[in-house]
Symmetry: C2
Subunit: 453 residues, 2 copies
């Protein structure tokens, strides 16, 4: 049985879209509706318990927009659906994105109502890219926003991404590793992420390695013979007994002993870390670090840190990788202007701020204290966050930021937030985001024009 490839690539990513994008595209084309449109991607509210998001995913969006095209194979599939005319499909074969993108840099803390990006292009171009843009920016922002919490909780201790096995698919595995790194994680277990992004890769050993050897000791001996400065997993049978075996290995090897750490992966990690620390110190292994993993998230990491557990690093997997407490954000890509006029919709609870916007971040000596969302072009005090990153379908230098620079920028921007916003505790009141009077007045004017529908 021959099967279609189940991998997404530059060749077929144009079909990673909701069907209605393509039926609307044909309608716009047929109706000659190719006026300039702006769509805004923003979040309507924060998940419970969250104080901010960390924007991520722009790099993949810009690559997509630069390379978007419909392959003959894809057009043939669409033809078979029976909803698309051959003249439309022939036009679609030459379709390219030639619009403009303004966006906040990756790694920017963002709040509800603030655009992460705005796409301005002919209506068909700006519309049809919605699904992919949402898919990437939503997930990567979910991931970066979760990681930054874990990193904050760890208070300077190392955090390593162990999430690949339970993250949702391989694309999330790759982009998630990058987003976690933007959020401040030090390394990933994902080898491909290491190759593609140059992120440091890291890993220890699995229980199966211990189990496959006749004794825990022989496993430790064999592994350290090959990797002298490795981290040994000590909880396969009896955790403290495992730690004692590391001490005995030191006695055996003497100066050859270069084991860097032990890993605890089950049980009461804080208590075990204290007991393990005592055993190691007593055995003269003060330099051997303790690494904890197993079902961790920002709350359990914070608890251990606050309790003074002698843990030097954390391997955080599943609960970070799926963003267990907030696996989705209330993010939307909405038409805010068409043919020179602001647009909105009035659906209950889903109101839109019309027109192109800018976000001004206001900082004083104590750091950031307020954001103002204003109309684009308004003069408002503060640092404007949205920059033009693509023009006529080509990336500008502002849209080509190296990953290390993004990560450093994110660290600085997060550090500038008020401590109560950085904390894991929900901030009440939330971070102040004001809508400028000019923008509110514009919203009212547009609403009046459209309220008769």
């Amino acid at each position: 049985m021959e099967r279609e490839s189940t991998w997404v690539s530059d060749q077929n990513v144009s079909l990673v879209t909701d069907l209605y994008q393509l039926t609307m595209l044909q309608a716009y084309w047929r109706e000659g509706m190719d006026g300039e449109a702006t769509f805004s991607l923003y979040s309507r509210r924060l998940p419970e318990h969250r104080n901010f998001m960390l924007a991520c995913g722009l790099d993949d969006v810009l690559h997509y927009l630069e390379t978007l095209h419909f392959s003959p194979d894809g057009l043939e599939y669409l033809a078979g659906l029976g909803s698309f005319s051959s003249d439309f499909l022939s036009w679609l074969g030459g379709f390219r994105f030639r619009g403009e993108v303004r966006a906040v840099p990756e790694g920017t803390p963002v709040f509800p109502q603030e655009p992460l990006l705005e796409v301005t292009a002919s209506l068909p171009e700006a519309q049809v890219v919605e699904t992919f843009i949402m898919n990437q920016v939503h997930f990567q922002t979910v991931a970066a926003s979760k990681a930054v919490r874990v990193v904050e909780a760890a208070g300077g201790r190392t955090v390593v991404d162990f999430g690949l096995r339970r993250i949702h698919g391989v694309d999330a595995g790759l982009k998630g590793a990058r987003a976690f790194y933007v959020g401040g994680v030090a390394a990933t277990s994902n080898v491909l992420a290491g190759q593609v992004y140059g992120i440091p890769v890291s890993g220890t050993m699995a229980h199966s390695y211990i189990q496959a050897h006749p004794h825990e000791e022989s496993a430790f001996r064999a592994f350290t013979a090959l990797y002298p400065d490795s981290t040994l997993l000590v909880d396969t049978y009896d955790t403290l007994e495992g730690v004692r075996k590391v001490v005995r290995l030191h006695q055996e090897l003497g100066d050859e002993f270069r084991v860097r750490g032990i890993r605890l992966d089950s049980g009461d990690l804080a208590t075990l870390a204290r007991e393990a620390r005592a055993i190691l110190d007593e055995g003269g292994l003060e330099k051997v670090k303790i690494f904890a993993s197993g079902g961790l998230d920002e709350l359990s990491v914070e608890q251990m840190v606050e309790a003074g557990a002698p843990v030097d690093g954390f391997g955080v997997g599943t609960r970070m990788s799926v963003s267990a407490d907030a696996p989705s954000l209330d993010m939307a890509y909405k038409l805010i202007s068409y043919d020179g006029e602001g647009r909105l919709k009035l659906s209950r609870g889903k109101g839109i701020l019309p027109g192109r916007k800018q976000v001004f971040r206001q900082e004083g000596e104590g750091g950031v204290f307020r954001d103002v969302v204003a109309r684009n072009g308004e003069e408002v005090p503060g640092r404007p966050l949205l920059r033009t990153v693509m023009r006529e379908g080509r990336r500008l230098p502002e849209g080509q930021v190296p990953l290390e620079a993004i990560r450093e920028y994110a660290t600085r921007e997060v550090a500038a937030l008020p401590p109560r916003i950085r904390s894991l505790v929900p901030a009440d009141p939330p971070f102040p985001v004001e809508i400028s009077r000019e923008l509110l007045a514009y919203q009212n004017a547009v609403a009046e024009r459209f309220s008769s529908g």
Copy 2:
């Protein structure tokens, strides 16, 4: 700035793995540990509120195992890490998977302690495939297990997957659409899933389409001129006013009117559905169906169905796509036998049932009533669930089931479960899964052998 491809494909998927798989691989190779090993993939417990899982993801696992190889490009990256010797990397260049896989068919309801699959191969081969197998089976099982709940709640009404924009990445988008379909969803909005898997694709129209037109009426007229039998979105400005415009469109078009349905996407959907139904019926549009969407999950769908809301179909997106109530499963891939001997570990709360196993599903007149997990080869009443699907690295016919057959099988198997297990309410007691006495005795024997570590 040239960038590496950020797509996963057959060429680089071998690096979609945790670094420790490769360091352990080199250690096994160096130590000559190439005895036969069996790993078992199973779930240790169910998420809260869940009564069963629906196994999914085997097809991608088997394709991966058949095609797994390390490309020159990947080997070069590994060489640069400094942990791998050139003789090992040269061996890795010729590495192929030549083992055996036994698995429950995709679409099988499974319970804790029951293997979804068992891989038997030389230790290096069986170990190194862990991360990818986990990544795919975990996510696809998460997705199928969520969808089956939504479909049960809909009680025969149509459910369409609208989740692509907020599902975690494009791989999850594609594999998720397939998993939702296995779980009983009728169609997906994801066009690529339609092309790759032949799943029916479906879609209506977006708010932006309405907004871009001068009036709601003109949007409805233009869209139905091109797509006469479409579903019109009525909640952009005032929902019931939108419904009345559909009635007026009918008066305008007369016999030409072929609109199939309306979509409600905001507000109190059950109440709006009743009011919309009344307006439509009064206007002679009894045949026009009502489709509801917007923040739905199995609980809100069940509520609407139980309240008798006149909704004919549901578009379910975010909360299904990220499996909001249970975005991860406690799934593990564990070494259960090496070199002819059962293996286990004793880590607290993470005990292992050693040795190869079989699951027997016992059925009576009222359907399935009990599963027994036994040693492979044991004679136990009931239908054995695990079958050999791959041998010597090649798929057997049992591992090549067409998607439609998988979906029908899943529907039958779910229908055979006791109603209290199919229900959305947590079953207490849970579905009975017994461990055979022979397996328990074997576990004790192995535990005694390893307890001294």
